[in-house]
């Protein structure tokens, strides 16, 4: 099995069980494995005649539905690169990403596509699909390396960076997860994370390689905890993979009852720390479920895993370990060790090849030693009793609702506002243990901008999750002796 590609396995499964359900939408419409392969083959043929081949880049600005997965499979079949973009991102950001990608093809909904991005949608593409999507072709230079997927993540220099993942990278993770969770065919899975988020690799590719049935949920449902729990009650899934924030919101605001998740075998979480008390709420109501903490940046996908031991210590305050390195990968703790802790380095077949168009940044995150290429995660860890424990970041990167956020992106955006002199953004824990963004904004002698207008300004440039929840305005920001913003003082304010 290991020699096959993700696509070949889906074809093989479809050959054996063409009528098995593959993908389901929240309105109960579905597509079978047989149709998934037939439709994607037809689209792949269309793409090939339009010169989409090995090394072509296909940018997707499409809602998460059956068609989106059919299209991605077609791109895979062409051995081209797919780049899923956030359909809810502001136009300015989308425009910048499309210009960074320089795609050979762009697939989007022509009605909602920003008219200021030059684009010529071809007639006839939507007849291959059930939803109304258009395709536009461009002539650009092809990739020189195998890139299956580019996922954009927040960048510390102020603009997003594209993480290039090869088909081998994805396959290694998929193989590990198939083996680790041994998912029976036709198990019910869910896709909660958006396609531009790495959690979706498990939901979609591990799911389809297991022959599972996957419920695709779009953002309008995921954001409404009650609707999300209602969907889960109907679907009754066997495996669910979500960020701790999503799990918490489901528990605290979604009103699960004693029948919710009654078939759940594996409860998976990743992307941020799960506060033990909040995790225990779930453990207490799901006695038959196994709970797994998965850890790994987009650059490596999951690289460590930890299963929560039961019975739990309900008094536990310290977060659970991120666990042991997964099969096939290696780790080491970087040389800047303080008290048995240091930066986590990862090497092995799931480690990405580099950032798209960013050679300097790529060189900066790799360490070549012991004849291996190590990705420096920027995560500070300690090893205890054979398990790794996450301690924090070595830089300013933040995690909010599982999203990676470089404060510099928000600060630079705030500082472009005419009434703002300078800004500093930090993470803050609320009384109910959620992480929020707190922006310290200096306006000099000017009056602080109106909060509602300022948030609208940010929403034009940044994704919703990057808009700070809290603003503290002042004339100036505290500075250290070398003239830089003094984050320590900001952090220690009452």
């Amino acid at each position: 099995m290991s020699g096959q590609t993700i696509y070949q396995r889906i074809v093989e499964y479809a050959h054996k069980f063409p009528d098995h359900i593959a993908l389901v939408e929240s309105d109960q419409s579905f597509i079978t494995y047989g149709d998934l392969v037939r439709q994607s083959t037809r689209i792949a043929a269309y793409l090939t005649t339009n010169n989409i081949t090995n090394g072509s880049r296909v940018a997707l600005l499409v809602p998460k539905n059956k068609d989106a997965i059919v299209i991605i499979l077609a791109v895979m079949l062409c051995e081209a690169t797919y780049i899923p973009l956030d359909t809810h991102a502001p136009h300015e950001r989308t425009r910048a990403l499309i210009s960074d990608i320089a795609p050979h093809a762009l697939i989007a909904s022509p009605e909602t596509f920003p008219s200021d991005i030059p684009c010529q949608f071809q007639n006839g593409f939507s007849t291959l699909l059930t939803s109304n999507l258009g395709i536009s072709f461009f002539s650009e230079e092809k990739n020189k390396f195998d890139i299956a997927q580019i996922l954009y993540t927040s960048g510390s220099t102020g603009s997003p960076k594209g993480v290039c993942l090869s088909s081998q990278n994805i396959l290694h993770f998929v193989n590990w997860s198939l083996n680790y969770f041994s998912i029976p065919s036709q198990n019910r899975l869910t896709s909660i994370a958006p396609l531009h988020f790495d959690l979706s690799t498990f939901d979609i590719w591990t799911g389809l390689n297991a022959g599972a049935q996957i419920l695709l949920l779009d953002e309008s449902i995921v954001k409404n905890a009650r609707l999300l729990v209602a969907c889960m009650n109907t679907w009754n899934p066997h495996i669910v993979y979500a960020t701790p924030s999503t799990w918490r919101i489901m528990y605290e605001y979604g009103k699960p009852d004693n029948t919710s998740f009654s078939a759940l075998q594996h409860f998976l979480f990743a992307g941020e720390i799960f506060v033990p008390q909040a995790l225990h709420n779930w453990i207490n109501i799901l006695p038959k479920t196994r709970f797994h903490n998965l850890y790994g940046p987009t650059e490596t996908n999951v690289c460590t895993a930890y299963e929560i031991e039961q019975p739990i210590d309900s008094e536990r305050q310290t977060p659970y370990p991120i666990g042991k390195i997964i099969a096939g990968l290696e780790y080491k703790i970087g040389s800047n060790e303080i008290a048995n802790s240091g930066e986590l380095y990862i090497s092995g077949p799931s480690v990405f090849s580099g950032y798209w168009n960013q050679e300097e940044k790529t060189n900066h995150v790799f360490d070549f030693s012991e004849g291996k290429r190590w990705y420096k995660t920027g995560d500070w860890v300690r090893e205890e009793n054979g398990a790794l424990i996450f301690l924090g970041r070595i830089d300013r990167m933040l995690k909010k609702q599982g999203y990676r956020i470089e404060p510099a992106e928000i600060e630079q955006c705030l500082e472009r506002h005419p009434d703002i002199l300078e800004a500093a953004v930090m993470g803050e824990k609320t009384t109910d243990h959620f992480i929020i963004l707190c922006a310290f904004v200096a306006t000099g002698k000017k009056i602080a901008p109106d909060l509602s207008a300022l948030k609208q300004y940010l929403a034009q440039h940044l994704p919703a999750y990057m808009i700070p929840e809290k603003f503290i305005f002042s004339e100036v920001l505290p500075k250290s002796s070398n003239g830089k913003i003094d984050f320590q003082t900001l952090n220690q304010r009452p």
Binding site: N224, Y253, A448, L451, S452, L458, A459, I467, F473
Partner: protein, 86 residues
């Protein structure tokens, strides 16, 4: 239960001032200020607001009603809650 629309409006307004403005000037917040579409409140605050109103006024939102169409301004929320109380 006091179903006076002013009581409901004041309750919603105070919740947004406490949760969102947090001591900053809120004088521009009117009954018609867009809350969700303009990103003044995010989805978690919207869920908290719904829970708060349910508790305060003894009402219940259906899953599909926790939607920006019913929650986008103080005026819309007030009218929606009032109709629920009746």
């Amino acid at each position: 239960m006091n179903t006076d629309p002013n009581t409901i409006r004041q309750e919603v307004r105070q919740f947004i001032i406490d949760q969102v403005y947090q001591g900053n000037d809120s004088s521009s917040l009117t009954d018609d200020t867009s809350l969700i579409r303009s990103r003044l409140i995010d989805s978690i605050v919207a869920l908290k607001l719904v829970s708060h109103l349910e508790e305060k006024f003894g009402i219940e939102f259906e899953a599909h009603e926790v939607d920006q169409d019913n929650l986008d301004t103080i005026a819309i929320i007030t009218a929606f809650v009032q109709q629920k109380i009746r």
